[in-house]
Symmetry: C2
Subunit: 440 residues, 2 copies
């Protein structure tokens, strides 16, 4: 058997700890699959003395990254620190010192992927990053290797398990948003500050990594519509159900006549379709290729061991030499011109609109007039009768507020935005106004 | 760019023709992904003069495999002939002549995989076979690479799209079995002789290939229960629905206390679960690993372009050199002792039983007695009232025949078989008797 592969792990948190545990507990299995032993030589931590649930080799823990960068025996560094700084600096130093890098850090790749990839190529090194998108689901390998004969034509996915868990809890258990978030935190599915998960940033960063691999186009988050689930109300999930849909935080990138349509938004998906039926803290990715048709991948998109499994697959790929053959052939290096992004205003879809209206004459006419003048035509309308006035208080002076739900025919996002601006002038409308696209 | 990779294609049928077409129409794309041009140098066909829908380079068609075996310029042969003979002989000759082989031929691998793999290793050659299981779905790559850090603990799958299409048509359109088969043939989803698809052979061969990769154990078809959908009646799908289940041709291999439980059988799967909700000519594979949890893959399991996509991914893997690194590390070479197969009689599950019984006293008591004496305990029973006797004919002499459906608690397949033998003696039972397991 070949020389052992000596590695360092940067960060012994959730994922890094999981990686270390499998490497230590499954030495034989990993050695057999990798063709050589994989030996943990150094682990970068913040505090040396802290007690941990992995039984590391004595003396391997350090707080000084220079002991890793400067150690010529270390061939590969596993970056599981998370965050952009100092991860960027460390990865650059490691690449410059001639080490390959395995990373699970999607925020780092989104922010500095171009620079890191360029430096890796200049130095003849490899960056492997399967774990950066969709945890244990092999979506990077599928896009870059399994579908290598294809021009990918669309990616439609649920890429944030936390949001999906929250939406499932809201819909199936009738919990309001705040309660569902609290439950996600209790289960360890959401951070103490869940902003990046619920506002769509996390899903959007993952989508841009996939988009770069599938379409060779680097897209900043600002270039496409992005909205989270943090403004949704249970009422919208119930109205969607009444209309035959589920609401999912959908991340979409698809080719449309030579341009790339992208968005991350809570979206109505018809019941029975694969993305509609995904409940709980899972990811599901549908990838269409011009040769293969459509392939679906589903699994845990985060969590200690699922992500560790992907990091270890990359590490085994580096140990066998496969990763070094894959990295230089990624589409990010292709010289074809980047695919232009379809401007948000030109995206054409159906929409779900919910208004809170005062229950008095001509309100609906005012709304319909504004929509109609903006070229938005209505496919269906739901307005239930207002509840009876409260008999106890007998207060009829206050106008009752009722929800009005409209499904439009296909229309441009630009028309929706123009109408939305005009709707500000309708005094009978109370906040919030909800607008969600409908998946094709 | 490196020297072009010169290849031969053996067999220009459905899949071979698809492979040739993409190679010819997408030269630039394939060259970019493979790191070198892929050039079709020879194509083996049965008739040279036949008109074809691919525009092959002039003079490359041959009917003589020796022109391929003996051509030192050809580095890789793509075997898309199908069948066991002469494919085995040709592949052996090609490996012995120093060529790598990409194959989509599951029947060949099932029958002679061990020999072919051994010869390939002795000669330092590679066999790549992603296309042999589940068409365009990257299940081999997932088992062997993406989940390389895992001990796979179970595989549960729908591996035969034809059977799944037939079951979907029967259930959703209310078609009898024969009509659904005819429709599958019209759509090109079933061969003129659909036996291998509908009797479970095709799914079982695929399962053994996956089992060998995931568990390092070569299992002959005779070692596990195998049944097709060809004895099912629409009535069973409807009773299953009444009980809250769908019927799927499930292929299962799972570790159970150090032994391998395997079976390919029409199986009741609770509604809402991933395998229950798969309709149409698709494959879906659930793979559980001890690190990653469960990953699901779904897509077209057969058909010209889906299978061609997998063949081309393998070809690109050979061109980059990745496949040559993967092949020697497959678990089939592992020296660990093979995992023993759980004897069929010891498999423990719940069962669905349907009897056609004469509607007269003590029949149910007789059946329940036999089941009970064999240790089979009943979880639920459905017997609807017999239809009114026909008023026109008024014939009451003939005993009406009514279906009796029983769901058992967990019991051993051995008890079911013993009870089945005894039930032969109950004169009030009319054929057929239907017995299907229920998925855990």
């Amino acid at each position: 058997m070949a020389e052992p592969l000596r590695i360092a792990i940067l960060g012994l948190g959730t994922v890094g700890g999981g990686v270390a545990r499998v490497l230590l507990e499954q030495r034989e299995r990993i050695a057999c699959r990798a063709g050589r032993r994989i030996e943990i030589r150094r682990v970068l931590v913040r505090e040396v003395g802290k007690s941990r649930d992995v039984d590391l080799p004595p003396g391997c823990v350090t707080t000084d990254v220079r002991e890793i960068v400067g150690d010529p025996e270390i061939a590969v560094a596993v970056e599981t620190m998370g965050g952009v700084d100092p991860a960027r600096r460390y990865v650059l130093d490691l690449l410059n010192a001639g080490k390959d890098v395995v990373t699970a850090n999607k925020a780092l790749l989104y922010a500095h992927g171009e620079e890191l990839f360029r430096v890796a190529r200049e130095r003849g090194r490899t960056i492997a990053f399967e774990a950066s998108v969709a945890g244990g689901v092999p979506v990077i390998a599928t896009v870059c290797q399994a579908l290598a004969a294809n021009q990918i034509t669309s990616i439609e996915a649920v890429l944030n398990g936390t949001s999906n868990f929250i939406l499932s809890e809201m819909f199936h258990q009738g919990r309001p948003y705040e309660q569902a978030v609290a439950l996600a935190q209790q289960h360890g599915y959401a951070e103490a500050d869940p902003t990046m998960d619920v506002d769509g940033t996390d899903a959007a960063q993952k989508l841009t990594i996939l988009t770069q691999l599938a379409f060779g186009t680097k897209v900043p988050l600002e270039a496409f519509p992005r909205q989270g689930i943090d403004t949704l109300e249970l009422a919208d999930l119930i109205f969607a159900d009444e209309l035959g849909y589920r609401v999912k935080l959908l991340a979409v990138a698809k080719l449309d006549h030579g341009r790339l349509e992208m968005h991350v938004q809570p979206t109505l998906v018809r019941r029975g379709r694969p993305l509609a039926e995904l409940d709980g803290v899972y990811n599901r990715i549908g990838i269409a290729g011009d040769v293969v048709g459509k392939v679906w991948l589903t699994g845990l998109g985060a969590g200690r061991m699922a992500t560790a499994s992907a990091v270890l697959a990359d590490l085994i790929d580096v140990a066998t030499g496969r990763a070094q053959l894959t990295f230089p052939r990624l589409d990010v290096w292709s010289e074809r011109p980047p695919i232009p992004i379809l401007p948000a205003d030109e995206i054409e879809r159906r929409y779900y609109l919910r208004f809170n209206v005062e229950d008095r004459p001509h309100v609906f006419a005012d709304i319909a007039d504004i929509l109609g003048r903006n070229g938005i035509s209505l496919a269906s309308i739901i307005q239930h009768e207002a509840p009876e006035p409260d008999e106890e208080t007998g207060d009829e002076s206050e106008q009752p507020i009722v929800p009005l739900v409209v499904m439009t025919h296909r229309t441009r996002e630009g028309s929706i935005r123009a109408a939305d601006a005009e709707l500000d002038s309708v005094s009978a409308l109370r906040p919030p106004r909800v607008c969600m696209p409908v998946a094709d």
